[in-house]
Amino acid sequence: MIIHYFEIRNCSLLYYMGYPIYLAPDGTDEGLLSMRGFAKQNDGKWIKYIDRFEYGYIMQFNNCEEIVVNEETLKNIQYPPFQYQPPLYGYGAAPPKDSNTANILCTVSVSLMLLTLPVLFTPLIAISGLLFIAAMVLMIIARVIYPDNKFAKILCIVYVVLTLIMVVIGIAAIIMLMIACNECVNSLNSCS
């Protein structure tokens, strides 16, 4: 099967570590390949992971010898017919194994989250906000780059549950405060 991907003609459909890719023919203009999101491999080949929209489209015509993928053809796809997900960890890289780095990231994240509480009761409230955001970001980094790490998975669930509880309590506290202020102002008005 030959695929004409936008202006890059005669690409091949291959599978790389289980994921479908376009393989550009040798001699294609490198500037054009970079512009269309292709990445150069160590062996000098230019490849691009096929996203599920494009893959779904290509699979509709898998009996054809030539398929054209461009803006016009992709316009007609409203939703991905295949639940295929492109890899999370970048071009040509193997999925990172459960690493010690993920555990370090999670440990630092927990430490920052625990530091948030004592700082909250000092004049440096803004710092507690920064610590909270940093803790969240570290957890997200660990969860996205090391998807199999158990510590990151558990930490993600704990943070999501904590966030939900915090949002509910926060909204209730703001509303109670505003009602209390309103009552106070109303009673002052009635005094005068």
């Binding site: 202006e7 999101g37 991905p80 492109p86 999370l88 955001i133 997200i140 999501v160 966030t163 909204i171």
Partner: protein
Amino acid sequence: MSIHICTDYSFFPPYALMIILSCAAGLALQYFLNVKRGVQPMIAGFITLLSPFMSFFFAFLLTYAASGGTKNGLSSMGGLFGMYLSVVTLALIRRDRRTTSITFENCTIVLPLIYSISKLGCFFAGCCHGIPYHGPCCVEYSGKVTETGCIFPVQLAETVVFFVIFAVGIAMLMKKCRNTSVYTLTACSAAKGLLDFLRESHMDKVISLNQILCIIVVIIGIVYAAASERKYHHTAEVTASCA
């Protein structure tokens, strides 16, 4: 015809209700658009998790810093910065060009919706109000806010204008138009900058800090859109020559 609004609420504060509603609507729509357009649910979920915290943090921080540490409140420009920062954070972690452009676009599309709903809160609470005005649809507040007299309903105008921008943005997205997010952001900045002239807080100023930021965003938006259109036509020419 004038509009009368009583700012004495009996139970639920309308300002808080509208801020919560705007955030909930914006985040839900952002998640839905991200997932529908092929972003992995986990990445879409992390953006939804991170953006409210970053938005509120920077919205408070900008007001606090701009007032020299004397005022507390929410700044829309700070909130905007926080929303984009959450998308940038995920883009730096994910490092995928397609996901980044989709999440940026979706974030920009939902911003006018969030602003539109939140301004209804200001309208009912009587804050951020307009210049003195006695024409049709002028607003008269009673209750806690009585000092304003008849004023221009600038918050309501902002709600309508930004909702129209949001609706046009969604329609452009459905039709897969190019540079939808750039046009939406430029339109939002232009609308915000122009409507600022109708605010009472602007009366003693020639130009406000918000307007300066809006002008910068409009200029960047126009330059980017022009460069992008030029690049698109160049690519089309290359395609034609290849074919």
